[in-house]
Symmetry: C2
Subunit: 321 residues, 2 copies
Amino acid sequence: MPIKTALTSMLDLEYPLVLAPMGGVAGGRLAAAVSEAGGLGLVGGGYGEPAWLERELPLASRGTSRAWGVGFITWNVNQSVVEQALAHRPPVFMLSFGDPRPYVSTIKAAGCVLICQVQNVAHARAARDAGADLIVAQGTEAGGHGADRGTLPLVPAVTDAVAPTPTLAAGGIADGRGVAAALTLGAQGALLGTRFYAAVESLGHDAAKRRLTQAGGDDTRRTRVFDIARGHDWPAPYTGRAIRNRFLERWEGREHELAGATAERPVVQAALDRGDFDTAMVWAGEGVDLIAEVVSAGELVRRIGDETEACLRAAAALLES
Amino acid sequence: MPIKTALTSMLDLEYPLVLAPMGGVAGGRLAAAVSEAGGLGLVGGGYGEPAWLERELPLASRGTSRAWGVGFITWNVNQSVVEQALAHRPPVFMLSFGDPRPYVSTIKAAGCVLICQVQNVAHARAARDAGADLIVAQGTEAGGHGADRGTLPLVPAVTDAVAPTPTLAAGGIADGRGVAAALTLGAQGALLGTRFYAAVESLGHDAAKRRLTQAGGDDTRRTRVFDIARGHDWPAPYTGRAIRNRFLERWEGREHELAGATAERPVVQAALDRGDFDTAMVWAGEGVDLIAEVVSAGELVRRIGDETEACLRAAAALLES
């Protein structure tokens, strides 16, 4: 039985599940697989490298006949990158972090549904005022970049603040229990990142996927260490949540020193390339406790969709005497 | 219609709602009012002052004919305080932070239901092994003392780790949407603190309650500043979540300096006594966005219980075509 929400109606989805546009990890093949299975796949445009987009966006647009999209870190794109992505005619365009206003009219003129992801109530109101069609309330539990509010209280607060604009929940959601919770909190669907990082079709390294199946949420940390080590300058309060590893343990609390240690910069990138995750980061959300195996994205969408349905039924059954 | 869970069955409650035992704020009158309305009221024994307990515990035991209880910060009690509390025959005894094992046999011999509150998966397993009857998974969104895991992913992870021991959710829950989310995540009920701080019967200062109705979750911070200022030595990773105020802004990031500024110690306590919350702390969770007025505890229990029921029904209706 399908789950009906404002999200599924707007984009003709079977499940209120969205693949978070993880930069460099959510490629076109993963996005297409999620969309084909009845969710919404978003390609992770990340820092907006044109060559990467030219390779991945066609894999999504040709890989599914259903709605799909692309997502970017707003302050890392420019008009040219936005237009490059729009040329592939994504039905959905998502912007996270930073002010979406410079790109709203271009994106809307192309007929896209505009999703804006925010990390607090003040930014949610700004996204609503900017013209977002859907607003993602992203909690601190999320893998990769995010801020400091918790998903559970943030979702109803944002939902109240931007009503009647529909909201989605992100951060710490990796199974049907989390999706069902998002719906009871007032969201119209959920974004899942880390769970799909460990999908067969993701562009993540096999060794990174293996760590995701082994780590627990107690092992993740919000940190600036990996951004500093790569020379990426994210402003406060944004940090990245990753699985604790040797490199993080070495530098945590010594961020100022690391900022001066420019010799470390190629080290993390080289480790990433060769799959050495004692040094390179595996971005991961706190929902990683719930990830035990690498599965195909289509199987994940159906499994999590079915779990969501079962949770909603079980919740309703608590009312029966 | 009642909501049936392992918690409500165990203690014959009408709603799966528990008053968090906020030290010094959840007195006997508040606990009794929550229990009388069909929830579970827990007196906040906090740091275990005998005179306070002698005043407040009888107000709970005589104020309700239903289940009630008392909660302590484990590392601040001793055998004598535990026995003093047990003499008032609380049906429920809760321990938060620290190792519960020194007191488990005494508490169980008195016939109490033992609730242990934890902040991560490792401590949940330890509480299960120690003999807890119910385990509270407390997320970082909680007001007052807590740690760093988010409620939404922590609850299913803890529930899986300690099954079949039943779990409760705490942290960021202030209305029926949050309670319903707790239930879909697999918990058998929810603890609410901040929402009841702003109840008529709480021992909180009127000026503090007023701040709770005005602040938003974006205004709260996890901090060690107020503990340091009062000479309370909480170990890492525990911090207290409070509404940002002038004192916090002055000292945040200068904790080492504050630790040496012993002249500040009486300042916070004096401010607390006279209701000056530009200096004293108002502990508050991120759910404070959802608190708009000071209401009686009984009204809150019934209102949140009804909202929970409506949320569960609405969630189930998403499955209807």
